[in-house]
């Protein structure tokens, strides 16, 4: 898990300048599959974002691990989404609640993108993942 995440985000962490960082984020976004149009429903849309962000958070019942799928119409938000997916996908509920996205984003120098004021849906996504994991545990 953490290995995937580290591998995926290594280039972001090692970026020498902010320009390079954004370039790596956008490249990462390109690796995400495009969500089929049928799944891009209003229900899946994170409300109140300038960029469109669709997201699905589910638990795989047999494996008891998290499955997160998402897409965005902007390059940067899609890249950030890819970071979130790499961070949480495949984790058990216990692992999810112990994984602090804020710390990870801080380490990657991306913390400002996780503030509510950005209104880009990333924070909403993290909140939803954490709520679902906690629900699962209680």
């Amino acid at each position: 898990m953490t290995n995937t995440f580290n591998k995926v985000t290594e280039s972001i962490k090692n970026a020498s300048a902010w320009q390079q960082k954004y370039r790596e984020i956008m490249l990462l976004g390109k690796t995400l599959p495009v969500l089929p149009d049928v799944l891009k429903t209003d229900d899946a849309l994170v409300p109140g974002c300038e960029s469109k962000v669709w997201m699905f958070v589910e638990f795989d019942l047999t494996e008891n691990t998290l499955v997160v799928i998402g897409d965005s119409d902007t390059r940067i938000v899609k890249g950030l989404l890819a970071v979130i997916l790499a961070l949480y996908n495949g984790l058990t509920p216990e692992q999810v609640v112990n994984k602090n996205a804020y710390e990870e984003f801080e380490k990657l120098g991306l913390i400002s993108h996780l503030s509510a004021s950005r209104g880009n849906g990333i924070k909403a996504m993290v909140d939803k993942i954490q709520t679902m994991a906690q629900h699962k545990l209680s």
């Binding site: 409300p47 109140g48 300038e50 503030s115 509510a116 004021s117 950005r118 209104g119």
Partner: protein
């Protein structure tokens, strides 16, 4: 961090306005019920915003806008914590008056001639006129709680009245702005909730002095104004229990409160956003944040204890002055002395007191029905706050005596 001991000398230095002279005399500011003075940190916060961070909030992709939005939303969390409620239950308004209007407007489609609204004769016009208008618009009856001749509410009698009236809504002040009398809210709210009423509390006077826990108070709506709580003008707070808040009809419309706008119709966001349209008073909100930080740094219990002692002293000295009639309840009061001298017009006395640098208010204090109830045209009002001193009281009383001599 341990609470600081209440140190009035240190506090005085935090309020630049207090350290000035009026007509050559040191200012004795006894008009905090109208508006509070501001600590330096509030002034500095606003200056800093306009100097370094000025930008519009929400939806901005650039750093300044992001910073401004972040700071702005933090203050919503701060006031929610102050009242022990959720951030999403806080709506920014331009003042307590607008907050009440937002609620009366939001209920318009839910009341008819079978409904009864209960208010009290003690209320500020802001908590009377909007209900009158709502009553005229909907046919709902508007009635007042029984009030003793001296301006106090008998708890038992009021609860009984509520039980009989079964109101759809009770709107009541936490403390009278004219008398300073504190309402015994809990039993009244319980009586109203037992009848299934909504309850709105006007906290304009109570929010700072009494720092209520709104969850515990169990009201549905609560309103107050930043400028009476050490904060800037042009900002008020509406708290609403979330389901009740979100159930209110929209008030003002325009940008930000909408989800989608088509030419034919629009869809709206959930509360609190649905009630917040237009560019907000950003610097006002940030300044209010600094005011809340200041209040949180004081130990509230100690501050309140100081206020009560100071008030008792002032009341005790005022009672001794010949010819003075006091209308305030002296035992349960936020710190306001409402009085008259014989049959002198309060205008004269207030004007003369100003000569001695003593700032009191005269008139009906936006409570004409209460004036009628008390059988007067107007009164003087000296309202104290935690930044007032025993010296203030002495100067006030001595000046008052000199003014009385002048009137002879």
């Amino acid at each position: 961090m341990p609470a600081l001991k209440f140190d009035i000398n240190k506090i005085r230095n935090d309020f630049p306005t207090l350290n000035q002279t009026i007509n050559g005399c040191p200012l004795v500011y006894l008009d905090s019920a109208a508006t509070s003075q501001k600590p330096q940190s509030v002034i500095d916060t606003m200056t800093e915003f306009y100097t370094f961070q000025n930008a519009n909030v929400h939806r901005g992709r650039h750093t300044l806008s992001d910073q401004a939005t972040h700071l702005y939303e933090q203050v919503r969390d701060k006031i929610a914590q102050y009242f022990n409620v959720f951030s999403k239950e806080i709506v920014w308004t331009k003042g307590a008056t607008e907050a009440i209007n937002l609620v009366t407007n939001g209920l318009r489609n839910r009341l008819d001639e079978n409904d009864t609204i209960v208010i009290s004769v003690l209320e500020h016009h802001a908590n009377i006129v909007p209900w009158q208008i709502l009553s005229q618009q909907t046919g709902a009856k508007l009635v007042t709680l029984p009030l003793n001749q001296d301006g106090t509410l008998e708890t038992e009698q009021c609860c009984e009245f509520i039980k009989q009236t079964k109101p759809s809504l009770l709107a009541i002040t936490q403390a009278s702005n004219t008398l300073g009398n504190i309402t015994n809210l809990k039993p009244l709210i319980k009586a109203a909730k037992d009848e299934g009423s909504l309850v709105l509390v006007d906290g304009a006077q109570g929010a700072m002095h009494l720092k209520p826990d709104l969850r515990e108070l169990n009201c549905d709506f609560y309103v107050c104004s930043s400028h009476k709580m050490l904060g800037p003008t042009g900002l008020g707070v509406l708290y609403g229990r979330y389901e009740e808040l979100n159930a209110l009809d929209i008030y003002q419309s325009g940008g930000e409160m909408i989800d989608k706008v088509y030419l034919t119709h629009s869809t709206y966001r959930p509360a609190p956003a649905k009630f917040e349209t237009g560019t907000p008073n950003i610097s006002g909100v940030l300044g209010f944040g600094a005011a809340l930080d200041y209040l949180n740094k004081l130990d509230h219990a100690q501050m309140r204890q100081y206020e009560q002692k100071l008030f008792s002293y002032a009341a005790q000295e005022l009672v001794k002055v010949e010819g003075i009639t006091i209308y305030s309840n002296l035992s349960d009061n936020i710190g306001t002395l409402c009085f008259n001298l014989n049959d002198e017009h309060p205008y004269d006395l207030a004007t003369l007191l100003d000569g001695y640098g003593v700032a009191v208010r005269s008139g009906h204090h936006c409570t004409q029905p209460l004036m009628t109830h008390l059988g007067v045209n107007g009164t003087l009002r000296a309202s104290f706050s935690f930044y007032n001193t025993y010296d203030d009281v002495d100067i006030f009383i001595n000046s008052l005596k000199k003014c009385i001599a002048l009137l002879d």
